[in-house]
Structure formats: structure tokens, C-alpha cells
């Protein structure tokens, strides 16, 4: 791949949070051996993402990992409540719609609709 398109490829991979690319670039092993079980690790990643105000795609990535590791959607939503006292309500509130979208719950439509779908 030539230089002209490499930067585009890099940015595209980052924009969708391509896991393998991020691991290779950062030297991190995101799914590797850990004393934490995968679900706990994924929920922690999610909580930290919310706390530092990560973008929607990071939340989606973290939520997908958590679901793949066996977290329920209730557990994922409760991460927001759990971190609210330390992360601040503002962060949590602003993350809610993006997390909803990541869980395939169209919160905008739900708020606009007369009947809850």
C-alpha cells in the first residue's frame, strides 16, 4: 500500500476501532491472559471509556466485547449507574444515547415516539 492511501487506511481503521490494528499499533493484548475474567475486563473497559468521555465507536466496541463475553444488557446499562458517583453524572448522561445505540436501542426514536417501542 502506498503512502498516499496508508494514512487513509490508518484513520479508517481507527475510526471503526479495528481491534487487531489497535493491538498491533499499541502493543497491547486486549483479549490476552488476565486474572480478570473476560466479562469483568470488558465491563471495566466500558466503564473507563465512559469516564474519560470516549467517542461513540469506543463505547460500541466495548459494549460488543462485553456482550461477547456474556454480559447482559442490564449489566452494561448498570455500569453507567455504578460509575456515576466517581465519573460524574455529566459523563454518564452524555454516554447514555451512544451506549443505547450500541445496544441497538434507538433511544432518539424511543424518546420521540408516543408509545415506547
Amino acid at each position: 500500500m502506498d503512502q498516499a492511501t496508508r494514512f487513509q487506511e490508518t484513520l479508517r481503521k481507527l475510526a471503526i476501532f479495528d481491534e487487531r490494528f489497535v493491538e498491533a499499533g499499541s502493543g497491547l493484548d486486549l483479549a490476552g491472559a488476565s486474572a480478570l475474567d473476560p466479562k469483568t475486563a470488558a465491563l471495566l473497559q466500558l466503564g473507563a471509556s465512559v469516564a474519560i468521555g470516549s467517542s461513540a465507536v469506543c463505547l460500541q466496541w466495548a459494549a460488543t466485547r462485553a456482550l461477547a463475553a456474556g454480559a447482559t444488557r442490564d449489566e452494561i446499562a448498570d455500569v453507567l449507574l455504578a460509575i456515576a458517583p466517581v465519573a460524574g453524572l455529566g459523563r454518564v448522561v452524555s454516554a447514555a444515547p451512544d451506549l443505547a445505540t450500541a445496544l441497538e436501542y434507538d433511544i432518539e426514536a424511543a424518546l420521540a415516539e408516543l408509545d415506547d417501542p
Binding site: A56, T64, R65, L67, A69, A102
Partner: protein
């Protein structure tokens, strides 16, 4: 009466290898160029030159000779010409593409798989039909021109998106030619930039003075050179304008009349029609022209019936000889249509002269069609006449065969028309068809709405007339929707079977429901007996019903550990489906389990992928199958230690059970699996098997040229949701662009092509 217009009685089952429904063959006939027609030599030279652009777009208002140009090109062209005259009824992608497939097939066989995908009600147009047809088009061994006339009539977005993708398949000297009044549904700006489109517009199509003179000569109008020049100036070379003026002059009109002044402007033409042309012909002729204009296609007997005058057939024959605005549709001189512009003007004139007569005439046409065993044409006439009751009755009779031919959008259009007139409430068979269609298309909200309509009809309306067939179908629908749990489903299915028996209707789907209800109620032996009944119907049962019964029997055999029996039943189910060209998700799940038992992992993966393709259609509108199939799939994913895939399916099961908790033994099985998954501490990468039903529904749309907001509009989702889901799809497929995602999905078998 199968000979009439090449359209036979609708309703035969699909047997494979050809169109699933009877085509109007005249739509595939390239119009013959009449002797004396002005030759557009320089334009045709442009079209036929070497190194041609793959896309040809002819865009001009009515009456510029678009059709004539294509027809003259076809006459001269050495390459084979596949022709389709588009009409309003082609706003069903399966219908339009069946005509396209048939037109290409006449030149070189496109293969059975193309027609299989077209005939299947549940097949995805962008996911299956278009890739197969596009591949066949690109694979033509010699260059073909695929010409579609009147494409401006296509407003269905799936049809338009399909043509845009087909355009990419015009390769190796083959070309796609689109003629219409407005810009064609291809990416014109992009094709223009790439130099891949040849555009012909009104400026190119206007006749020059000499061509105008030869048109007038051919119309047997003798004018001096100055007069020709004057007429050419006033009409700005608009061919149909010149011709109308010629007609008027032939009938004794004068060139001095100020009315002959129009350059493609319809408003002036209708004024002119009124004051000049129609005023000069006999009242009888005028009556014939304006009244037959209600017909899209006409034959002598049909005109006779509509006008209620025995001499109409002779009038049509006379007119066919003398009037160029009557277009012959077959080579035997039986069927004709008016030139579109001429027909529009005649209809306006009819409305002015005799307001309210058009519906009466259309009603007569409907009666004639019915009498001649052409129920679908009758239905369209009833719709045009606004006859709600007649239309509802015909929809009740027609929807099942038409649906079985894959023409789902057509049935939806009928239902939508009835719905707009509030006519479904009073017509239970229309409600049954609407509900069943919604179930099969995976639209649970609609299915529930029609289910409510049926309940109101049955329980809220004490004065309703006796209609045992509708009662039985309503019971089938209640069983299918299963809104009140397993016990009620069993009662509904039993009632349906009694009802059908009393009316003598063969509907094995009711026995299938009986069997499934027995399983939910914890009586597998009882269930198996009903599945055997369904199998006993043999060919009388629809292939999907039959294969589902065989699949259920195979699952029961597996539960007993009788794998040889299970394999035998599964392969029987497979051959039933293979014969029909359909795919069913239950079959994929059953085949996956059988293959897993054999240890044939490639086959397991292949079946899992086909189950994924079909899964978006399995919603809580048919909760039993939707949950049962997913349970079987979870088992397979667990065996492959694909936990992300298993958990994705489990979430979907939970969502369905939340709405339909009383699914008896299925709910118990789901709970056991849920516990097992909850105990599982491991994780697996969320790859393609973790695509959700919502993502799988979006995936085929990525093969089109539709933007995210346009995809959202198609699927009733916000552009934001589509954008987010697409990123998730890319990630799960390991892709970073739309193209790459489509390529990956094709490699996996999630998409065809």
C-alpha cells in the same frame, strides 16, 4: 384463454428454470419500426459506433421518439437486443427483474439460480437476485444490449437501486440502455465523469427540417416547402407535435390555426387536441378513442366489451391501419396500446366530456377480464375503477398464488391500496393475507396490527356474514402469531384444521401449526403425528410447509438420539426445498445439527451462514419458529465454542420471550441454555457470527449504491442507527470500508455475488 396477450391464468406453482408467473410477452417484444418512420441515422451511428459507452441514457419528454430510436438501433445493431417495456406493474423488483431475466434468457440462458431467487418470496433482492442476475448479464458470451423503455415509471426504490447495480455489470461490450422522461436510476454524475454513459436528450431527438418533411410525407400530408418550414419552426422539431399537426391538416385543418404551436409543451397540446383534432373527427370515432383510453392494452373483443358496441373491433382494426399513435403489441395484430402521451390527452378529454364515465368503463373491463380468466388484470381494473369490494375479493383469491411466485411487493401494493381505503377491516381474507405477508417478511408490528383486525372481525362483529374459510384462516393466523401462549395456539390450530375440513380446503399449514403447538405443550409424540400428516399431503403441501414438517420430525428424531432417522428426514427436507429453489431457516438449522453430528465442519459453517442470511425474517411474529430455530443454532455455536455467536442468538431469544413468554417447553429449553451460557466464563472474538439480526438486515443494502440515509429510509431506521450499525458490521467482518465489508461478506457466503 391462455393465448390472450400471452398472459395465462395466474396461480400455477413455480417449477424452476423459468419465470414464476405468466409474463405479458408483448413487454418483451421490441416494437417494430413502421415503414416510413423517419430514420435517425446520425443518432444511431453514435449509438452503434465502436468502443461504446456501456450505459446509454435517452431522456426526453413524451413524443420525442425515444422508443423509436431504440427500436431502430435494435434493427440495425448486430449485437443481440434484450428488450423490456416497463410499466406501472414493474414497481415490484421481482417482477421487473423477472422480465429482465427473461429478456436476457431468450438470448442466452441465465441459469436456474436466477429464476429460483426471483421466485422465492423471502429472497433478498439486493442480496440474492441482483448479484445472480448481474453475474449472468456479465457472463454473456457475446455482447448484449439490454434496453429498458419507459424507466421513468419506476418509482419503487428497490427497483431503481437494482438497475443502478445492474449498470455496473454491463461489461465486455454489453450495454444497458435506459429510456424515459426523467433521469435514469443510475449514478449519472459518476458515469459521466468516467466517460461510461452516452446521453441522448431532446436536443438530439428533435427532427431537423428535412426529417420533418419526410415525416409529413409519410403521413400523406402534402405541404409546400415554406409551410413545412413554418410547421417545423412552430413545433420545434418535436416529432409527436409534427405528427398531430399532420393529422389535423389531413382532416382538413389549416396551418393558419394558431393552435398549432407547441414545442413539447403538453398544455398547449391538449388545448389543440380539443379544438383541432378531436373536433374534426366523427363523434363515433371520438367516443371510441376517448373511451378506450381507459385501457392500458386493448384488443378488439375487449374494446367491444368496454364500449358495449359490437362494431368496436372493426373500429380498432381501422385505427390500427391509419394511426401511428396506436402501438401494436404483438405480431398478430390482436393487442394494441395508445402512445402514452396520446392516451393521457384522451383520458383528459374523456374526463372533460363525460365525467364519471371512466370508472364505469373500467368496471366493464374488469368483468371482461374475469370472464376471460384473467383475474389479475380484472383486479387492476377494479383498483383503477375504485371498486373496493371487488378488489378486496380478488385480493383474497389472488394473494397466495401471487405471493408464492415471489411477487411480494405486488401483493403489498394491493393491500396498501385497500388499507388506504379502510377496506381491510371488512374483508377478512385481505386481513389474513396482510398478516401472513407481514409474518413472512419479518414485520411483527404490522403482523400484530392485522392480527388485531382479524380479532375484531371475529369477536367484535356479531353481525358478520358466515365465512367459514376466512374463519379457518383467521385461526391459522392466531396460531402463527401465538399471542396467547402455547395452550391457546393448540386450540387455534385445532380449530383451523376443523374449519378447513368443513370447507374442503387443503391447507396443511394448519396441521403444521397443530404439531408445533403439541411440541410447545410438551407432547412431542402427538406433534410428530401431525407432522406425519403434513408429509402425507405430499405435493399438495407447499414446499416450505412440507420442509418445515420434515425438519421438525428430524429434530424430534435427534432428541431421541435416532440420528439415522434424523439424517434421512433432513435430506428429504433438503430435496423438497432444492426442488422449489427456496431456502428455509429451520432447514438450515436442522442441516447444521446433522452436519455437526457427522463432524463435517465446512458443511456446518455453510449452514450457519445460510441461517444467518435468513434470520432477520424470524421475529416475534412467529415466536415458536423464531425461538426454536435460534435454540438449535445456539447448540451448534456452543459445540463450536463460538460463544460470541451463541450469546448473540441468546439475546435475540430473550427479546422474543419477553414479548411472548408462554412458549411452553421452548421457554424451558431457552432457560436451560441461558443458564449454561451464564456459567461459561470464556469469551470469543465478536466476529461475523456475532452479527445481530438488525445488522444482518442492513448487510444486503450495503451492496447497493444507496447512501446511509437512503438505507435508513428503506428500513424505517434513522441514518444515525445505520451509521452506527455499519461500523459494527465492518468491525465484525474485519473490514474498514463498505466495499471491503461486501467482499468479506461475499467470501463468507453472507452475501451472494
Amino acid at each position: 384463454m391462455g393465448e390472450i396477450d400471452g398472459r395465462q391464468h395466474a396461480g400455477q406453482a413455480y417449477h424452476g428454470g423459468g419465470p414464476a408467473f405468466d409474463l405479458v410477452l408483448s413487454k418483451l417484444h421490441r416494437p417494430t419500426v413502421r415503414p416510413g418512420t423517419v430514420r435517425r441515422s446520425s443518432l444511431i451511428d453514435r449509438l452503434a459506433r465502436d468502443d461504446p459507452q456501456p450505459i446509454v441514457s435517452v431522456v426526453a419528454p413524451a413524443g420525442y421518439g425515444k422508443t423509436t430510436l431504440l427500436a431502430q438501433w435494435a434493427e440495425r445493431n448486430e449485437a443481440a437486443f434484450a428488450w423490456v417495456s416497463v410499466d406501472e406493474a414493474d414497481n415490484d423488483p421481482k417482477v421487473l427483474l423477472t422480465y429482465v431475466a427473461q429478456a436476457l434468457d431468450a438470448i442466452e440462458p441465465v441459469g436456474r439460480r436466477v429464476f429460483d431467487a426471483l421466485a422465492s418470496p423471502a429472497s433478498s433482492v439486493p442480496g440474492s437476485v441482483v448479484p445472480r442476475l448481474g453475474a449472468a448479464f456479465s457472463a454473456m458470451t457475446a455482447p448484449v444490449v439490454l434496453a429498458l423503455d419507459d424507466v421513468h415509471l419506476l418509482h419503487n426504490s428497490e427497483c431503481r437501486a437494482a438497475l443502478s447495480v445492474l449498470a455496473d455489470h454491463a461489461q465486455g461490450g454489453s450495454r444497458l440502455a435506459l429510456a424515459g422522461r426523467s433521469e435514469p436510476p443510475v449514478r449519472v454524475a459518476r458515469l459521466r465523469a468516467e466517460g461510461k454513459i452516452l446521453e441522448v436528450g431532446p436536443g438530439d431527438l428533435s427532427l431537423n427540417r428535412d426529417e420533418a418533411a419526410s415525416l409529413l410525407r409519410a403521413a400523406r400530408v402534402v405541404l409546400g416547402a415554406d409551410e413545412v418550414t413554418e410547421l417545423h419552426r412552430r413545433t420545434e422539431g418535436w416529432p409527436v407535435g409534427l405528427y398531430l399537426a399532420a393529422l389535423s391538416l389531413r382532416e382538413g385543418g389549416s396551418l393558419d390555426s394558431a393552435a398549432i404551436s407547441f414545442g413539447g409543451d403538453h398544455r398547449f397540446v391538449s388545448e389543440y387536441m380539443e379544438s383541432e383534432l378531436l373536433a374534426r373527427i366523427s363523434p363515433r370515432q371520438r367516443e371510441f378513442l376517448t373511451q378506450t383510453a381507459v385501457l392500458e392494452r386493448m384488443s378488439g373483443p375487449l374494446c367491444q366489451a368496454v364500449l358495449d358496441q359490437p362494431e368496436s373491433a372493426a373500429t380498432l382494426a381501422d385505427l390500427a391501419r391509419s394511426n401511428l399513435l396506436l402501438v401494436p403489441l404483438d405480431r398478430r395484430g390482436q393487442w394494441y396500446r395508445y402512445h402514452h402521451l396520446f392516451r393521457d390527452m384522451l383520458l383528459a378529454e374523456l374526463e372533460r366530456l363525460e365525467p364519471g364515465l371512466a370508472p364505469v368503463l373500467r368496471r366493464r373491463a374488469a368483468a371482461w377480464y374475469l370472464h376471460n380468466d384473467l383475474p389479475e388484470a380484472a383486479l387492476e381494473s377494479s383498483i383503477a375503477a375504485g371498486d373496493v369490494d371487488e378488489a378486496a375479493d380478488l385480493v383474497g383469491k389472488m394473494w397466495l398464488p401471487v405471493y408464492r411466485q415471489g411477487r411480494v411487493t405486488t401483493v403489498q401494493r394491493w393491500i396498501g391500496w385497500l388499507d388506504d381505503r379502510g377496506a381491510i377491516e371488512g374483508h377478512p381474507m385481505a386481513a389474513v393475507s396482510a398478516a401472513l405477508l407481514a409474518v413472512i417478511l419479518g414485520r411483527p408490528v404490522e403482523a400484530e396490527r392485522w392480527g388485531d383486525v382479524l380479532d375484531r372481525w371475529q369477536y367484535g362483529n356479531t353481525g358478520r356474514p358466515d365465512d367459514p374459510a376466512a374463519e379457518a384462516w383467521a385461526a391459522v393466523m392466531r396460531a402463527l402469531l401465538c399471542r396467547c401462549g402455547a395452550e391457546q395456539m393448540r386450540a387455534d390450530a385445532d380449530e383451523a384444521v376443523r374449519g378447513f375440513a368443513a370447507t374442503g380446503i387443503v391447507a396443511p399449514v394448519a396441521q403444521l401449526m397443530q404439531g408445533i403447538a403439541r411440541i410447545l405443550c410438551g407432547d412431542p409424540e402427538g406433534g410428530d403425528a401431525f407432522f406425519e400428516d403434513v408429509v402425507g399431503f405430499g405435493e399438495l403441501a407447499a414446499p416450505d410447509t412440507l420442509s418445515n414438517a420434515l425438519g421438525e420430525r428430524a429434530l424430534l428424531a435427534m432428541a431421541h438420539g435416532d440420528w439415522s432417522q434424523a439424517e434421512a428426514l433432513a435430506s428429504q427436507a433438503r430435496s423438497v426445498l432444492r426442488g422449489s429453489g427456496f431456502e428455509r431457516p429451520l432447514n438450515s438449522a436442522v442441516q447444521a445439527r446433522v452436519a455437526l453430528h457427522r463432524g463435517d465442519l465446512p458443511a456446518v459453517r455453510q449452514e450457519l451462514v445460510s441461517a444467518q442470511r435468513l434470520r432477520p425474517l424470524l421475529t416475534y411474529a412467529q415466536p415458536h419458529l423464531a425461538v426454536q430455530i435460534r435454540i438449535e443454532l445456539v447448540r451448534v455455536h456452543l459445540a463450536l465454542t463460538d460463544l460470541a455467536g451463541a450469546r448473540t442468538l441468546m439475546r435475540e431469544i430473550d427479546d422474543i420471550l419477553k414479548r411472548r413468554p408462554a412458549l411452553g417447553t421452548l421457554a424451558d429449553e431457552a432457560e436451560a441454555l441461558r443458564d449454561r451460557l451464564a456459567r461459561e466464563r470464556r469469551s470469543s472474538i465478536a466476529g461475523s457470527s456475532a452479527l445481530t439480526a438488525a445488522e444482518l438486515r442492513i448487510l444486503p443494502m450495503l451492496t447497493t449504491h444507496l447512501s446511509f440515509p437512503e438505507i435508513g429510509k428503506e428500513l424505517f431506521l434513522s441514518a444515525h442507527t445505520i451509521k452506527s450499525a455499519t461500523k459494527s458490521i465492518y468491525r465484525k467482518l474485519g473490514a474498514t470500508s463498505r466495499n471491503e465489508a461486501v467482499t468479506r461478506a461475499r467470501g463468507l457466503g453472507l452475501l451472494e455475488g
